[in-house]
Amino acid sequence: MSKSKIAVAITIGIMSFMMIYVMLIQISIASDDDREEIEFLRETELKDLLASYKERYEETNEKIVEAKNKIDEYEKDEKSEEDTVALLEEEVKQAKMLLGYTDVVGEGVIVTMENNVIYGEEESAIVRASDLIELINELKLAGAEAISINDERIISRTDIFDVVPPLIHINGQRKASPFVIKAIGDINYLESALKIKGGFIDSYTLNNYKISIESKQEITINKYEGELTLNYINKEEVKK
């Protein structure tokens, strides 16, 4: 057997190996359900995906109902007092985090909005309270769990309004550009909600605003500095 024949055989063997190998990889990709790159899917695939997500949503909803029932049981059950205490403590902790009483850490995005003043031109862009409110609403819609603007925690009683432009009142504090909006939540959801075509960042960069977005695995959001008091709400629970 000559050398060249052996070389030919080896080359052909390598070629067939590569082809089968790549084919199997491709098959495994094509049959992979865990597809996340929504941008690259076709319409029918998107529909399928949507349907499967709806199913999952319903399943999760059922699980939530189950979990709530369990919590009710715990609350009724006097025997497992320790469990109840632990559960209540956990609940209080979470409620405090949600209310903004504690500093929180998590993955999320940082959006920076800046005034873009061009002297002598009418098209200078100044960040107004309404812009910030729109951004916050977008973030909340995308599932943000904690938001702050220039380290002012956004809570249920936060006020945002224009004072003398370009100053903006947030939580009773005067804040000026640049505005750094931090939000903790699913990075993918938050980013895509803002970056979508015709979305928040698109429309604001079109209007000459200086705006940038950055995602981080660890963002710290400060607690709410003020005090929440109940003066007018009756402290008894409303009985249904």
Binding site: V8, T11, G13, I20, D32
Partner: protein, 128 residues
Amino acid sequence: MIILAIVIGCILGVILGINAPTISYIYSDYLAISIVAALDSVFGGITATLKNNFDFKIFVTGFFGNAILSILLAFLGNKLNVDIYLAAIVVFVGRMFNNLTIIRRFYLEKWTQMKAKKAEIAKEQSKE
């Protein structure tokens, strides 16, 4: 020898391919098109062998060159927002069908010739 090499390559490919790491869905277009290009080269090689003008160098360079070039074209198309990979698939699959037709005709002709020969032999035998 060559057939043995093909079999070994295929078996190795299956063994390693089943345990292969999954690659992001983004690259599936490129992989698919490279597979089609390689298959096209294989059928081209078979056709060339039948026509007796098979050249190993042309075969190997076509196999890898077509696959890589088609991936590059698909990538370019993706950047330009034109579905170039569709055009490449049309060309490659069209050529594959052409080659398949040639292969089919070759074997069909062989078969009919063999039948005709057998019939002739049978005729001569019956005359005797």
